[in-house]
């Protein structure tokens, strides 16, 4: 059943030009960042040769690309998550799913996974971009792996939050603005957390992603991401069930 809903979400996504345009734009921006970093690396390469134990191309080129990708996906997620439930409600199509023999959890998880399949395509393109560097030198695949995992988890958090906010309203635009506001708020949190260096940073999504970005796969961060995702998915299911009970 979940597979049916994932398929439906993906076909709805790729019917519209929005998904294609976003894919192209993300790739364009990241390739540009990639080339700028490559250029910088080539300039300082001779100086790097002189120091002992210099940072490799993965650290200098690929990590910044992934860091940039996290920020771009933070901006892009609201555009894609806004329609998930808000549009269904606006067009009165949620009735089709609710009247069908599927549970609320199937609907919510299916929609979430559908969006995640799209983001997997985005991340796969970034990984392909990174691996192209293999033509010129050796890569640190461990660092690429931790970056990929981190980016996937942080995007899943963005999507879960976006899905929940989309369930609160019947206006996709309001859902988009609300999600963007919440995600930017989390980003601000990150800036504040960097200043204080105290307990605040445990609550910042991007702070946890930075660990992955530096090649550190921390179980605390993984637990935090998973807790964040599950919390918002459960809230979404409860919200839809509540509508059936009280609405």
């Amino acid at each position: 059943m979940i597979v049916t809903i994932i398929r439906k979400e993906l076909s709805m996504l790729f019917i519209s030009p929005l998904a294609w345009i976003l894919l192209a734009l993300i790739q364009l921006i990241l390739t540009w960042v990639f080339l700028v970093r490559l250029d910088a690396f080539l300039e300082i390469q001779s100086q790097l040769m002189q120091i002992a134990n210099p940072p490799g191309i993965t650290e200098i080129i690929i990590s910044p690309v992934f860091a940039m990708a996290a920020i771009i996906l933070l901006m892009v997620t609201p555009l894609l998550s806004m329609r998930l439930l808000a549009e269904e409600r606006r067009n009165h199509t949620l009735t089709l799913l609710i009247s069908a023999p599927v549970s609320m959890a199937d609907i919510v998880i299916g929609k979430f996974l559908g969006l995640m399949v799209f983001f997997l395509a985005v991340i796969a393109l970034i990984v392909a971009l990174s691996i192209s560097l293999r033509l010129g030198g050796a890569l640190d695949f461990g660092l690429i792996l931790s970056n990929t995992l981190g980016l996937f988890l942080v995007t899943a958090c963005f999507s879960a939050l976006g899905l929940y906010i989309s369930s609160l309203t019947a206006q996709p635009i309001i859902a988009a603005i609300g999600t963007l506001g919440a995600l930017l708020g989390l980003w601000m949190f990150n800036l504040a957390a960097s200043e204080t260096d105290g307990w605040l940073q445990y609550f910042s999504l991007l702070k946890h992603f930075e660990q992955f970005n530096q090649g550190l796969i921390d179980t605390l961060s993984i637990a935090y991401f998973i807790l964040f995702i599950v919390t918002f998915l459960v809230l979404t299911i409860r919200r839809l069930d509540g509508e059936r009970l009280h609405g």
């Binding site: 076909s11 089709l96 059936r244």
Partner: protein, 242 residues
């Protein structure tokens, strides 16, 4: 007695629904047998749509029980909904999809076997007069065809209970006649609940009629009984709901 029980496809007892302090539906009971078409009548705001949304699991009743083919809708919603087809007041159509894509989605949602998908799709399109429209995008279809797609969606899995909320609203007289004959066809093998404002529609299609007023059922008789008494439906309706 057992035979009678077997033919009972839908049984809802003492349904109540409150919205805050406002009571929309009060002690409504609906029973439906196989091969029966029930007309649900009532002025606007009488609670018809609320009742139908409760019968299809879109809204939880504040009190009461609903059984579909002997399966409790509140206890086992997924099993019970397999036997249900629902066309809401506003058809739940994805305007960006083609008719085929949309109907295949509806079929998959109702767990229709992969191997029979194509034949089920062809069959339902033929029944609803959508043979030519398969590749058309739903958003570009006229209101009448969109309504047919909505009905096709509700009957694609040949459910035992079909619930149609104002299926002929906004259609021209020819389309209305076609939809009515389709509903009569459906009423042969399944049970149909039909809500409408058009009294002549009830007279031509339904076997039994229930009139709702202010959240209660105020009238429940078969068309045959009504004809025997020689009273017109319109007279009954005006008398009870004014």
């Amino acid at each position: 007695m057992t035979n009678e029980m077997a033919t009972l496809t839908l049984s809802a007892q003492n349904l109540c629904r409150n919205y805050g302090h406002h009571t929309a539906v009060q002690n409504v009971s609906v029973e439906l047998r196989r091969g029966e078409v029930l007309g649900l009548l009532g002025p606007n705001g009488a609670g018809k749509t609320t009742t139908m949304r409760m019968l299809t699991g879109n809204l939880a009743p504040s009190a009461g029980s609903i059984e579909i083919c002997g399966i409790d809708l509140l206890d086992k919603p997924r099993e019970a909904k397999l036997h249900l087809g629902f066309l809401p007041e506003i058809p739940p159509l994805y305007h960006d999809m083609t008719v085929d894509e949309y109907l295949l989605l509806a079929a998959r949602l109702h767990r229709i076997n992969k191997h029979t998908l194509q034949s089920v799709l062809d069959n339902v399109k033929q029944r609803c007069g959508l043979e030519v429209q398969g590749r058309h995008v739903i958003g570009t279809l006229s209101k009448g065809f969109q309504q047919r797609v909505g009905i096709a969606q509700a009957i694609i899995h040949s459910p035992d209970v079909i619930i149609l909320d104002e299926p002929t609203v906004g259609l021209d007289p020819n389309q209305m006649r076609e939809i009515r004959s389709l509903i009569r066809d459906l009423g042969v093998s399944s049970s149909v609940i039909l809500s409408t404002h058009i009294l002549s529609e009830v007279e031509s299609v339904c076997d039994r009629v229930q009139i709702m007023h202010k959240g209660r059922v105020v009238f429940d008789q078969t068309m045959a009984e009504l004809q025997q008494q020689g009273t017109s439906l319109e007279a009954v309706f005006t008398q009870l709901t004014q």
